[in-house]
């Protein structure tokens, strides 16, 4: 037995990779039902949007890149689904170059899904607008507090912002009920300092699991109203949105975040197993001299 554990603690890298890939593929073929009870920070974001009156406006900043897409895109899509079903209008912007197209893609995908599943038209210019990328993130965040038109005179496709009906009565943060930054960078810090700190706009953050711990101090201090942390947070939010759809008697949207999180759960369990095996082998070897 001792020899076996020592041998197991010296697996080849390729073997580890193979076990991991096989493990992560399981949830894509077998339905796994893990509980996704919403954590308080995720629930806070959901409840805040849920309690907004119809016709409110939220601003979503797409501040991530393709490298963290599997974690961040399901968050954005779940938030958009929640907002659109509540008749909440959404302004999309991007403060990272890479996020520009990703944001557009998420907005259009969700709008298409609404049409296909419920025959609901999510109209560009009336239900949502996408203003695209602006460099100089700090100045852009501050500028949005003064006048959106000065920062984004045109939308992503070059249409004058004055031609978009949704934007008629929206000037700055005073007309926005919530700002959500979906980010894989440190940009939320700028949103906290400038948008929340200076203009007092309610702020929520959706971020990768690695960065989530960085924003806990702001959650506890009340500077952010909620936090969606990593793929688990996305799965929790998606679960809440699906629950809402079920309550309203609608068919469910895709379970992108939940399915991906199942794969991550298997991977994380395997990593713990590897760590334990490595340590058992280490101690047995040390004991045996």
């Amino acid at each position: 037995m001792r020899e076996l554990f020592i041998k197991l603690s010296k697996m080849k890298r390729s073997t580890i990779f193979l076990i991991l890939i096989v493990g992560m593929l399981i949830p894509f073929f077998v339905t796994l039902k893990f509980p996704y009870t919403a954590s308080p920070p995720t629930k806070a974001v959901f409840d805040y949007i849920e309690n907004l009156p119809e016709g409110s406006v939220i601003l979503v900043s797409v501040d991530y890149g393709p490298s963290t897409l599997p974690e961040t895109e399901p968050m954005l899509e779940a938030i958009l689904k929640h907002a659109f079903i509540k008749n909440i209008r959404v302004i999309g912007i991007a403060l990272t170059e890479e996020g520009t197209n990703l944001g557009l893609r998420a907005f259009e995908n969700v709008a298409k899904e609404f049409k296909a599943l419920y025959n609901i038209d999510i109209r560009y210019g009336a239900d949502y607008v996408y203003l695209g990328f602006k460099s100089g993130s700090e100045a852009a965040i501050l500028g949005l507090g003064e006048d959106i038109r000065k920062v984004f005179p045109k939308d992503y496709s070059g249409r004058d912002i004055e031609d978009l009906p949704m934007m008629f009565n929206i000037k700055n943060y005073n007309d926005i009920s919530l700002v959500i930054t979906i980010s894989s960078t440190m940009l939320p810090q700028q949103w906290i300092i400038y948008a929340q700190g200076r203009y007092g706009v309610p702020l929520a953050i959706g971020t990768t699991a690695v960065l989530a711990t960085d924003w806990y101090p702001y959650l506890q201090s009340g500077q952010i109203i909620g936090l969606i942390g990593g793929l688990k947070g996305a799965a929790e939010y998606e679960n809440l949105v699906n629950w809402k759809f079920k309550m309203e008697g609608r068919s469910l949207f895709g379970m992108k975040a939940i399915r991906n999180m199942n794969a991550v759960t298997i991977a994380e369990l395997l990593i713990i197993l590897f760590i334990l095996l490595g340590n058992i082998g280490y101690f047995l070897e040390k004991k045996g001299g």
Binding site: N101, L104, R105, E146, P217, E268, I275
Partner: protein, 206 residues
């Protein structure tokens, strides 16, 4: 003249704009607000210029590599890719355009794949290096395992959510706050040094 443009003028500008922009925050007059909004437009303009500088630098660097025959293949690929995406993006960026297709079907999968590889290397590194050799390493190991379990639904099944939340809200927050206060004080001190001309590294160390 060279000293004036290279040293005195930048220092004077840093002092003037640094102090006035800090002071305007405390003066709710129309003039202060107009000045602040004008400066915001300038910052966005200057940031856009930085993007142009980066593009020029990228083109020059890769052209030089090609002409000098150093790693010319990768430099050519980088330049062709760059010029192609810029060219496509100028003509049409709409959904379904060639630019959009290239971005979503080439750039996004490449980038996501590179990052996904991290999971495999992390698993391998954790297996080899995460050993309970000392007390500190053991504490780190135990905390890491608890957080990993807590960040999966298994944590909920094992009723560990409150323990994970405690680790994140108490020890994690204590050290984060310490770091944040340190960083904040450091940033304030560095800003003051730049405004007063004591810190001059931003001018190239003069």
């Amino acid at each position: 003249m060279r000293r004036f443009f290279g040293e005195i003028l930048p220092l004077a500008m840093a002092f003037f704009f640094g102090t006035t922009l800090a002071l305007q925050y405390f003066f709710p007059f129309r003039f202060a607000q107009t000045y602040y909004q004008t400066m915001l437009q300038w910052v966005i303009g200057v940031a856009s210029m930085a993007v142009i500088m980066a593009v020029i630098s990228f083109i020059r660097y890769n052209f030089r590599k090609i002409f000098e025959g150093r790693d010319s293949f990768s430099a050519s690929v980088a330049l062709i890719g760059f010029l192609m995406m810029v060219g496509l993006g100028i003509f049409s960026r709409e959904s379904g355009s060639l630019f959009d297709k290239m971005y979503n079907n080439v750039y996004v999968p490449i980038n996501a794949t590179m990052f996904s590889l991290l999971a495999f290397y992390m698993a391998s590194a954790a297996y080899r290096a995460f050993r309970a050799r000392t007390l500190e390493a053991t504490l780190l190991l135990v905390a890491a395992i608890l957080i990993i379990i807590g960040s999966t639904p298994i944590g909920t099944l094992l009723n560990m959510d409150s323990l994970t939340a405690w680790i994140l809200n108490v020890p994690n927050l204590a050290q984060k706050r310490g770091i944040l206060i340190g960083v904040g004080l450091g940033a304030a001190a560095t800003s003051l040094k730049i405004i007063l001309g004591i810190e001059r590294n931003w001018m190239g160390g003069r």
